[in-house]
Symmetry: C2
């Protein structure tokens, strides 16, 4: 596992410690983390701060050229909203911790010529599956179900 | 023009008064506005608070059943991020002020069986075209160009 996926998992666990949904993400520019984030639905009563959105927001306002040199790491397959944000900013590559618990809009990303790597990392899967068992309502709310 | 599109335009003009990008949106549930928003890139240095995202965030945490009875009004055709958020929450109908200045992901919404109505409202077009003439850099930043 890369250090960047480890950083995304750290973010997910930080969210869990805060009583939130354990999904984490980091935005990496030329091998440097420039934005970190985790799902803040519970913590901020937010319907838009998924992990990837939080990482993008925390990275701040960037030029299109900067986004084009970025890789986004996320512990879970990105939902339609986060996939749309990735497309909006032209981020060319996504590394996904796992897509067994939830399959996001990977086909849309691939159809737009993004590089999509799925690790199916054991730790990512365990964190999400345990959370969903214990908090099915929160999880369903987070994916609009 | 409906009262709801007028409310979305009011939001856009509020954004303009604040020095921001003049795009507004309202989320309507059974003929009541339950969320209002406008683009806050400049005001909050936000890369995720497009008008539609701001309206969804301000509406707060809702059940899936509530979203399914909503209509989202927006002064401008929704970008991939906002369209993804609309899909995530299963909002079934979108009313768009105009798509002449910017064509968002309307085809993706239609492919997912959403009802998409485009008004091509003269006031919406004039507000955006004037803003883009005066602030091309801000506009390009907002659409990842």
């Amino acid at each position: 596992m890369s250090n960047f996926m480890m950083a995304a998992i750290e973010e997910a666990l930080k969210g869990l410690d805060e009583g939130g949904i354990p999904i984490g993400s980091v935005l990496v520019h030329k091998d440097n983390i420039i934005g970190r984030g985790h799902n803040r639905r519970v913590q901020k009563n937010s319907v838009i701060l998924h992990a990837e959105m939080d990482a993008l927001e925390n990275a701040g306002r960037l030029t299109a050229a900067t986004y084009r040199d970025c890789v986004l790491y996320t512990t879970l397959s990105p939902c339609p909203m986060c996939s749309g944000a990735i497309l909006l900013y032209g981020i060319p590559k996504i590394v996904i911790g796992e897509n067994q618990t939830f399959m996001g809009s990977e086909s849309l990303l691939k159809a737009n010529n993004l590089e999509v790597i799925v690790e199916n990392n054991k730790e990512c899967i365990e964190i999400m599956q345990r959370f969903i068992r214990e908090h099915p309502d929160l999880w369903n709310e987070d994916i609009g179900k």
